[in-house]
């Protein structure tokens, strides 16, 4: 958790220039209104910003950046604030640059299967606009109703369909990126590659540290003719984890392959009543999509495979309504956890699929050690775990315990050859664990990349990539040897 600092007062000169650039309602100065922006989707990190601005044109964004660059004022760009790693936490001496008002779909070209969008467009709004043309935008993070495409680009967001359709980085064609000094770069294009370095791939997932995206072109895909989902119950978590590997080994690439453990199943069923197997120790949702004959023949294979892996029951959604019901349960998992616990903390590690059972078991042991409950609901096909730590912030020490447990789970992910974040980003939350996943020289290389884009370190400073000095302190405190390469395999 961060120590909240007293927000600074904005330099009157800076404020007066901002007032010339922006209309009155685009500058948030009162403390009450600034409070709205003090955290993102990870509220344990809070900081009141010095000022919030809400431009509604690219030109304004550019002027704001140039101004802040001249005054050396740090800037934190923000979309809908749904991020789960404290990547949009403000700075006490900084400006929050909300891109929420840049929310137009500028063009939708059904011929080229692309949409030109502003950063504040909601993820789901793109698919809604594409729907009449039989097209959609594939990445679907669970916050897709609210989250913005700009935020998705910053975090390289995933969702439940990544295994087949990829992450944000696989679905963006072009980004207009403003550097901190106001330089506009056009990265990528509607062609399938670019001259020079792939700076678009570098920018995607850079957590707002390299530039501010003000426009982009996303790829739209034709909607599959048919999608079918199977729900399989298991009396043992490791059997379910094993089934995940077997499906993939059989040459099948599900559109979605999700797993829930027993406590999650019961919490969800209590909440939304969708017919989940409440007796099960684990369940899988496995969705295939494609044309009619293809999906039907694949579902037969999936059913056999699941049963062969020891599923106690396999149910295939009979129609679109039942399919929607099965997914509703999955999508309700977080609010369902919210009903059984005053607070919850969602983690986000990825591990090789063959390590799923081991990591789930390790997580359960850690939970017992920390005397907290952890439920699991996650993207099994990608090996992307989302352990949900249940706690009560009102009980003294529980929040700290939850954070410590979360940190231990992330270390476990690194230990088995995985990563500390699959799709939520590092932000402030996982900055310590970055010191474990990367050594000093690797972090220094990342800082040199940052300097090439933002030499004054004004864009979202302090997030995503820790300072080597910070890591030295962390390693010392946690008993790691200084300069030790934590993931050396040699």
């Amino acid at each position: 958790m961060t120590r909240t600092k007293h927000a600074q007062t904005c330099d009157p000169v800076l404020l007066s220039v901002l007032q010339k650039i922006l209309p009155d309602d685009a500058i948030v100065t009162t403390e009450e209104e600034r409070r709205v922006y003090e955290c993102d989707g990870l509220p344990m990190f809070r900081q009141l910003p010095m000022l919030v601005v809400l431009p509604d044109t690219t030109g304004q964004v550019r002027e704001i950046l140039q101004l802040c660059h001249a005054h050396k004022v740090p800037v934190v760009a923000r979309g809908a604030g749904t991020g789960l790693s404290a990547g949009a936490t403000p700075l006490a001496d900084g400006i929050v640059l909300s891109l929420a008002r840049l929310n137009a779909i500028l063009d939708l070209d059904p011929q080229a299967c692309t949409a030109r969008v502003q950063p504040g467009v909601r993820n789901l709004a793109i698919s809604e606009a594409a729907d009449p043309h039989g097209l959609y935008y594939a990445p679907d993070p669970s916050s897709q109703i609210a989250c913005t495409i700009g935020g998705n680009v910053a975090e390289n967001s995933g969702g439940v369909h990544c295994l087949k359709y990829g992450l944000t980085v696989h679905n963006i064609l072009e980004i207009h990126l403003l550097l901190m000094d106001g330089t506009l770069l056009i990265l990528g294009s509607s062609a399938l590659d670019q001259a020079g370095y792939d700076l678009m791939a570098l920018t995607i997932g850079s957590e707002g540290l390299l530039g501010v995206g003000v426009e982009g072109v996303v790829k739209l895909l034709p909607k599959p003719v048919l999608a079918k989902v199977a729900m399989a119950a298991f009396d043992d978590v490791s059997k379910a984890a094993n089934a995940v590997g077997e499906i993939i080994a059989a040459g099948l690439i599900p559109a979605g392959l999700e797993m829930m453990d027993g406590p999650s199943i019961r919490a969800v069923e209590d909440y939304v009543r969708v017919g989940y197997p409440v007796e099960a120790a684990a369940m899988l949702l496995c969705e295939m999509d494609g044309n009619q004959v293809e999906v039907e023949s694949q579902m037969v294979r999936i059913e056999d495979l699941l049963k062969g892996c020891g599923a106690t029951s396999v149910k295939i959604a009979a129609d679109e309504a039942e399919r929607a019901k099965f997914w509703l349960g999955r999508k309700s998992a977080f609010p369902a956890a919210g009903r059984i616990s005053p607070d919850y903390y969602c983690m986000d590690g990825t591990v090789p699929r063959r390590k799923l059972a081991q990591v789930l078991e390790g997580t359960a042991q850690l939970a017992e050690e920390f005397q907290l409950t952890v439920t699991n609901i996650f993207h099994a096909g990608d090996g992307n775990l989302h352990p949900l730590i249940l706690f009560d912030a009102n009980k003294p020490g529980e929040l700290k315990r939850a954070e410590d447990l979360g940190a231990q789970i992330l270390l476990l992910c690194i230990e088995v050859g995985g990563t500390i974040t699959g799709e939520h980003g590092v932000g402030l939350e996982k900055i310590q664990q970055m010191c474990v996943q990367f050594n000093t020289e690797e972090l220094e290389q990342m800082h040199r990349v940052k300097e090439a884009f933002d030499p004054l370190q004004l864009l979202n400073p302090g997030k995503a990539v820790p300072r080597p000095r910070h890591c030295a302190e962390y390693r010392l405190a946690s008993g790691m040897k200084s300069g030790e390469d934590p993931h050396a395999k040699d």
Binding site: L192, Q194, A201, L210, P352, T419, Q445, F453, D490
Partner: protein, 363 residues
Amino acid sequence: MPRTNCSQALQEQILQALSEQKTLQPCGGHSKDFYGRTVNGEKLSCAGHRGILNYEPKELVLTAKSGTPLQEIEAILAERGQMLAFEPPHFGPGTTLGGVVAAGLAGPARAYRGSVRDYVLGVRVINGHGQILHFGGEVIKNVAGYDISRLLTGSLGTLALLLEVSLKVLPLPEAETTISMSCDSTTALQHMLTWSRQALPITATAWYRDQLYCRLSGERSAVHDAISLIGGDENTDGSIFWTALREQTLPAFTASKRLWRLSVPPTTLLREESGEVILEWGGALRWCCENRHLIIDKTDYWDYAKTVGGHATCFRGAKPGTEVFQPLPSELLALHQRLKLAFDPKSLFNPGHLYGTTAATGL
């Protein structure tokens, strides 16, 4: 050779070159020596740095040393019913994994299955300071730190030397069929664009010498359904055609004196070219096979590509020492130069392979 010794040997060569202020030209199988601006540097061969380090078919991930021959990787994948979905061209028998990733070139499936960088999950490299660094990993979703693995893909070895690469692999399709039909290029482009808007199991399209080719891959039933929807005749020589297209052994390629690669938005209208044209990637990739007598000014291609929102590359046949890639806007070139400095401040690796005529600005 064990992994460490092998990496260390390359690291020592790099440190040596650094101390002697030499420039190096990393190379593998010399299959793409024709590609990019010519470089004057001491050859640093990675061909001995070979071997598959980890391959778990259930994980859909393969990690190998950069000098591993592409043929070896493709063979081991095929044994387990898997493949590199981006179908990299070989351009010669000795092509290595490092060369594939450094060049970032994908084959006919690119428009439908993704590019090289879409499948790169992690890299181990040596930067211009001589440091061995590891980015990304062997998992499919990983957003810890900047995506340096993907930045290095297609950077033509100008930023760092690749030691190891982890790639996502995919299962081979159950069935694959090529259909072809006679038509002109405009009709072919229309067909390609129409098909792209439908959920069809298409994995490659091309137009060559008045024939439109379309490859369908997937479940047998899906392929069968698509054939009846698309029409055309089943082409029993389909796989030969796609290999010849990918390897540029089709007569139009081999007869050309200078080959231009136009990467454009697929909806771009066709224009009259000075040589024979081949279309692929659903219309997004257009090859112009120039005949010696018709060679026109390079700026014509670059101006045209810029106008339509794409880029042009003088893929083969450029005069040594001349520019090959689409000129970058000045701000973008400046950022490229800063990134070059961020990885390779002494211009150790392939200076001038991408751009620039002077040592100070070459990258």
